[in-house]
C-alpha cells in the first residue's frame, strides 16, 4: 500500500460485470461498468431501482452474497485489485480503508450494544487501539457529527436515538477508522427532508475535513447535485453517462439522462401549461434486455439498424471534462431543441364545496405502564384542523413524518373517529360515523390511494378480482358479466392492458400496481380521493406517468384530490392549494403560489430550503434546522415549532414558549400560524431563486 501515489485514482473500476445466478438462469446485473474516483472526490451513482447501482457498491465491498459473482473486469482500490483478494486481506480493508453507510440506520446498528462500544470496536479491531483511547476517539467523532451531549450518546442504546441521530452514528462509525473511501447507499432515503438536509451538510463538511473520497448512491438527482463533484448515470445495468455534475446536468449527452430530467418536476413545471414528460414504456427486466442500446425501445432518437445492432461502448464527449456517453448518435442529436410539449390543458375552476373540516381534533390515549396502569398520556395527533376543499381542486397536505397527516386521512376515511370538531362531506356530517356505519354511497364517493405499491394490492388475489370486489361492495353493476366489463373499462382508464385482469400482483411492476390501486379507488366513481404519497415509492420516470394519470382522471371526473406528500417538488407541480402541517397543527394554508413564495411560516421556509432541487440554475438559501421533530406525546408548550425556529428571537418576550400563535390571515386568504408580525413576515426573502439564463 506504500507504493500508492496520492495523485492516482483511489478507486478505479474497469469494465466490471456482475451476474446473479438463480436456479433458472444467470441474471446479469451490471455490464461493462467503469468509473474512477480521485482522492477527495465525491462520485454520485444515480439511476432507478434495479439499474445496478447498489450492486456496484456491494461489489466494491466484495459482499455480493452467495448468488452474486463478478464475471469480468477489475476493481482497483489504491492500485490493488479487490476482485482477486482473499477474505483475510478483504477483512483488513473493509471498515478501515473502505466504509459503507446503508439506507436503514437501525439495521446497521447492533440494538444490544451501547453506541460507545460499537464505535470503539472499529479502532480496537483494526488498529489494536487501547479501549480507553478508542472511547475517547469515539467521543470526539460524535462531537464531529454534531450530536449534542456526546457523553450521554456514548452510553445510549440505538433505540434511544431518533432516525436522524442513528444515521449520524452510522456515519461516525464509518469515520472511526478514517477510511480513504466512503460508500453511501441512499443514506437519507429513510429520513425526513429537514433531517436529510442536516445529514447532507454533515457529509459534505466531513468529506472536506478528512479528505475522504465518496461514492454516493442515490435516486435523487437533487441530492447528487448538492453533494457530488462527478456523477455516473446508470440504466439497466450499464453506465450510460458519466462526467462532471454541472456538465451532465446542463449539457447532457445521453437521451436517458435527458428524459430523466424532463420527467422530474423542476421549478417552472406546471400541470396545465408545461406538464411532465413521462418516459414511455417500462424498465426492461434483466433477462429481457434488448439487443444493442438498453434504452433503445424507450428512446425518442432510436434508429433501427443502428441502435439495436451491436453492443454500444462508452464514447468520450469532446471538449468536456472526462465526460462520456453510451450513445451512438450523441453528435447528431440537437441537444438544445425544446422538449415536445405534452398536451396543454385548461385549469378547471374550483367547483362547489365538497369537504369542510372545522376545528377537527384527534387525540389518542396511550398508557405508559406495562400492565395498563401508569399515568395515561395523550398524543395530540391532530389539533384544530380547519379547511375546505372544492370540486376539481387538488389540496396538498405537506409535512414530515409524525405531523399528523396520516391520522387526518384515517379520520376522514372513517377508520378512526374524531375526538371533536366536524367533517362535512357533501352536506353530511361524518365525523362521528365510523366506516361501517356510513352508507355505501358515502363510502364509494370517498376513496383512498395508498403509498406503498408493494402493499396496496392483496398478493393472493388476481388484479381483476380485486377491482371486481370493489365494484361488488359499491353495488355497481347488476350481474357478474356487467361488473367484468366495468372492470375492463377501469383497466383501460388507468392505461393498463386488459390481459392484466388475470395477473397476480407480483407479476406487475410498482407503477402498474399503483395504477391498479387507482382503478380500484375510482371503481365507485369516487368524488373525493385521498392520495397518501401515491408516487413517493416509485421511480422518477414512473412518477411522472402515474401523476399525470391521476390528473387526467381528476379532470374527467371532477374529483377533489387530497394529496398527502412530503415531496415539495411534486406538490408545487400538481396542487392548487397547499396545507403545511407540523406536529398536528396546520401552520400554513394557502394557494400554491402563496405558500411557495414569501411570506412563509418559518417551518415552510426551512422545508423549502431542505428540498434538493436538480437544477443548476436554482440558488437556495440554506436553512438547516437543528434537532429533531419533538415527540407528539410530549409537544413543546406554546408554538409547536418553537424548539427549532430560527425566527424565535425576533418575537418579543416569552410569547413563542408560552402562547399558541393565532392564525393570521394575510392577503388572498393566506393563513399562517405564527407570532411574527405582519411586517416581519413581509420582510422575508425568497428561499429559492432561479438565476436568469
Amino acid at each position: 500500500m506504500t507504493d500508492w501515489d496520492p495523485s492516482k485514482p483511489i478507486l478505479e473500476i474497469e469494465n466490471l460485470s456482475i451476474s446473479f445466478f438463480t436456479r433458472l438462469r444467470e441474471i446479469p446485473a451490471v455490464m461493462d461498468f467503469s468509473c474512477t474516483v480521485m482522492p477527495g472526490e465525491a462520485m454520485g451513482l444515480v439511476g432507478e431501482s434495479g439499474c445496478g447501482k447498489s450492486t456496484v457498491a456491494l461489489a466494491v465491498m466484495r459482499d455480493l452474497g452467495k448468488t452474486g459473482r463478478i464475471t469480468g473486469g477489475a476493481i482497483k482500490f489504491k492500485g490493488r485489485d479487490l476482485t482477486t483478494m482473499t477474505e483475510e486481506e478483504l477483512r483488513h480493508i473493509r471498515g478501515s480503508e473502505i466504509a459503507m453507510i446503508y439506507q436503514e440506520p437501525m439495521a446497521s446498528l447492533n440494538p444490544a450494544m451501547r453506541i460507545g462500544e460499537q464505535l470503539a470496536e472499529v479502532p480496537i479491531i483494526h488498529q489494536n487501539m487501547p479501549r480507553a483511547e478508542a472511547l475517547a476517539l469515539a467521543r470526539q467523532i460524535i462531537a464531529d457529527v454534531r450530536l449534542p451531549d456526546p457523553d450521554r450518546i456514548l452510553r445510549a442504546y440505538p433505540h434511544q436515538l431518533s432516525g436522524g441521530q442513528q444515521q449520524r452514528i452510522v456515519i461516525a462509525m464509518a469515520l472511526m477508522a478514517k477510511p480513504a473511501l466512503l460508500i453511501l447507499d441512499e443514506p437519507t432515503t429513510a429520513l425526513d427532508v429537514t433531517v436529510e438536509a442536516g445529514i447532507v451538510d454533515l457529509v459534505k463538511e466531513l468529506g472536506a475535513k478528512y479528505g475522504t473520497s465518496m461514492l454516493f448512491i442515490s435516486h435523487n438527482l437533487g441530492l447528487i447535485l448538492d453533494v457530488c463533484d462527478r456523477l455516473c448515470v446508470m440504466y439497466s445495468g450499464e453506465a450510460v453517462e458519466t462526467g462532471n455534475v454541472r456538465e451532465v446536468f446542463d449539457k447532457m449527452r445521453h437521451p436517458y439522462t435527458q428524459a430523466l430530467f424532463r420527467s422530474i418536476p423542476l421549478p417552472g413545471a406546471d400541470k396545465n401549461s408545461s406538464p411532465l414528460i413521462a418516459i414511455p414504456g417500462n424498465f426492461p427486466l434483466p433477462h429481457e434486455r434488448p439487443k444493442g442500446c438498453n434504452f433503445g425501445p424507450r428512446c425518442d432518437y432510436f434508429r433501427d439498424g443502428l441502435c439495436n445492432a451491436r453492443d454500444i461502448p462508452m464514447d468520450a464527449v469532446t471538449d468536456h471534462d472526462r465526460h462520456a456517453t453510451r450513445c451512438l448518435r450523441w453528435t447528431e442529436i440537437d441537444w438544445n431543441a425544446p422538449a415536445k410539449v405534452g398536451k396543454i390543458t385548461e385549469k378547471l375552476p374550483p367547483g362547489r364545496l365538497v369537504l369542510k373540516m372545522e376545528d377537527l381534533k384527534k387525540y389518542y390515549a396511550v398508557s405508559s405502564g406495562a400492565f395498563g396502569g401508569g399515568a395515561a398520556k395523550v398524543v395530540k395527533a391532530n389539533e384544530s384542523l380547519t379547511f375546505e376543499a372544492h370540486e376539481n381542486e387538488t389540496l396538498a397536505i405537506v409535512g414530515e413524518s409524525g405531523c399528523g397527516k396520516s391520522t387526518f386521512a384515517k379520520v376522514l376515511m372513517g377508520l378512526e373517529t374524531a375526538t371533536s370538531g366536524s367533517i362535512m362531506l357533501f352536506d353530511e356530517n361524518v365525523q362521528d360515523t365510523p366506516i361501517q356505519a356510513r352508507n355505501t354511497d358515502t363510502v364509494s364517493k370517498l376513496q383512498m390511494v395508498f403509498q406503498n405499491p408493494f402493499d396496496t394490492l392483496n398478493p393472493s388475489m388476481t388484479v381483476g378480482r380485486q377491482i371486481i370486489r370493489a365494484l361488488e361492495i359499491f353495488q355497481k353493476g347488476n350481474s357478474d358479466a356487467e361488473r367484468e366489463a366495468m372492470m375492463l373499462n377501469l383497466l383501460d382508464m388507468v392505461k393498463l392492458p386488459r390481459a392484466f385482469a388475470e395477473r397476480m400482483p407480483r407479476q406487475l411492476s410498482g407503477g402498474q400496481k399503483q395504477r391498479v390501486g387507482i382503478a380500484r379507488a375510482f371503481a365507485g366513481g369516487a368524488k373525493v380521493v385521498v392520495a397518501d404519497e401515491p408516487v413517493s415509492a416509485l421511480d422518477v420516470s414512473v412518477q411522472a406517468a402515474v401523476t399525470d394519470l391521476l390528473m387526467d382522471i381528476q379532470r374527467e371526473n371532477h374529483t377533489t384530490l387530497l394529496f398527502i406528500s412530503h415531496d415539495l417538488s411534486i406538490v408545487r407541480y400538481l396542487s392548487d392549494r397547499v396545507m403545511v402541517m407540523y406536529l398536528g397543527h396546520v401552520v400554513e394554508l394557502g394557494s400554491t403560489d402563496q405558500v411557495f413564495a414569501p411570506p412563509y411560516h418559518p417551518y415552510t421556509e426551512a422545508l423549502l430550503s431542505a428540498v434538493p432541487i436538480a437544477d443548476t440554475r436554482v440558488q437556495k438559501r440554506r436553512i438547516v434546522l437543528e434537532g429533531d421533530i419533538p415527540s407528539a406525546m410530549n409537544p413543546p408548550p406554546g408554538c409547536p415549532f418553537q424548539t427549532r425556529c430560527r425566527w424565535k428571537s425576533q418575537v418579543p418576550g416569552q410569547l413563542c414558549e408560552t402562547v399558541l400563535p393565532p392564525v393570521q390571515v394575510l392577503a388572498g386568504g393566506h393563513q399562517i400560524k405564527c407570532h411574527l408580525s405582519a411586517e416581519q413576515l413581509a420582510r422575508m426573502e425568497p428561499v429559492i431563486t432561479i438565476a436568469a439564463e
Binding site: T22, N452, N458, S460, I473, Q475, R520
Partner: protein, 383 residues
Amino acid sequence: MEPLSWPMIFAKMVVQFWPVWAALIVTVALSLHFRRRLGLYGKLFDSTVGLLGFVIVMFWVFTALFADLIITFDPIAQISQMKNVSPGTPVPGSDQWYLLGGDHLARDVFSRVVMGARRVLTIAPAATVIAFMVGITLGLPAGYFGGKLDTGLSFIANLVLAFPVILLFYLLVTPEIRQTGVPVVLAAVLFLFPVIFVSVLLNSRYFTNPARRNLYVGAALAVGLWAYSGLAFNADPTGIWSMDPNLLNVFVSVVFVNAPTVFRIVRGIVMDLKSRDYVAAGQTRGEGPWYIMLWEILPNARGPLIVDFCLRIGYTTILLGTLGFFGLGVSPESPDWGSTIDDGRKLLSIYPHPAVVPALALMSLVLGLNLLADGLREESMRD
C-alpha cells in the same frame, strides 16, 4: 416351503408395494414436468430435502390408499401356528409367508402395519384440519381486534397449553369423566367451528349477492350441520356420519391440545399483516371485518400455516401413537401403529419384530412430514 431369507423378504415386500411405486412414479413425473406452473408445490421439487420428505409422505399416503391391494392377509385374522413367528415364515396350507412375522395373537405384522397406515393417515390429518379451523376461527379475531377479546382468548389458550397433555388425555378417556359428558360437550363445541368457519367464509364473500349467498351458505350449513350431528352426537339418521365413541374421545383430545398452538400462530401472523395497505384498502371501501380476516389476511398467511400443518400432522401422529401405546381410545383389534407397538412391547426382548416394524413405520412418516415441512419452509422463503 422354506422360510425366506432377509433379501427375499425385502424383494417380496417391494413387489407387494407395486401400486405404491406406480402411483409415486406417476405423481413425481407429472409434478416434475409441470413444476414451473405449480407455485410453491412445484418449487418443492427444487429442494432435495423437500423432495425426499414428499416422497416418504406420499409413500405412506398411497400405502393407505391401496392398502387393500398390498396386504397379504386379513390384518385381524389369526392363524394359530403363526404366533410370534419370525419374519419370512411360510404359512402352512397356503403359498404365502408372514413377511414380517406374526404377533402374539398370530396375526400378520406386515398386513397390520399396512392397514395401520390407513388408520393413522385418516385420524391425524382430519384432527389437524379441525384443530386448524378452530385455531384460525379464534386466532383471526384475536389478532385483528386485539384488546380484551385477545387477552381473554390468549389466556384460555395458555391455560390449555399449560396443562400436562398426557394427564389431560387420561382424564378425558377415564370412564368417570366420560359419564359426565365432558368429551361430548367438547366435541359439540370444537366441531361447531368448522361449520362456523365455512359459513362465515362464504357469507363474507357473497353477501353482496344475496341469492348466491343463500345458496352457498345454505348448502354449507346443510352439509355441515348434518355431519356435525353425526360426528358430535352420533345422531345422524342416515348413519353416514358417525364416530366410534372411543375414537371420538381421542379425536377431541387431539384437537383440543393442538388448537391453542394454531391459535397463537394465526394471531401472530394477523397482527403483522393487519397493518398492510391492502387491509386498509378493504377497510376504506367498507368491507366487514370477517371478509378482511378471511379473504384479505388469511390467504397471505398460508405460507407459515402450510408448514405448520405438515409439522402438526407429524406431531399428531406421534400423539396418536402415544395414546395408542397407553391403550387409550382405540379398540384393541385396531391395527394402528401406536397400539401395535404397545402390544409388541410385552415380548420385546424375545420377539422384537411385532413392535419394531410399526415403530419404524411411525418414525419414517413423521420424518417425512418434517422433511416436507422443512422443504416447504425453505422454498417459500426463496424469491
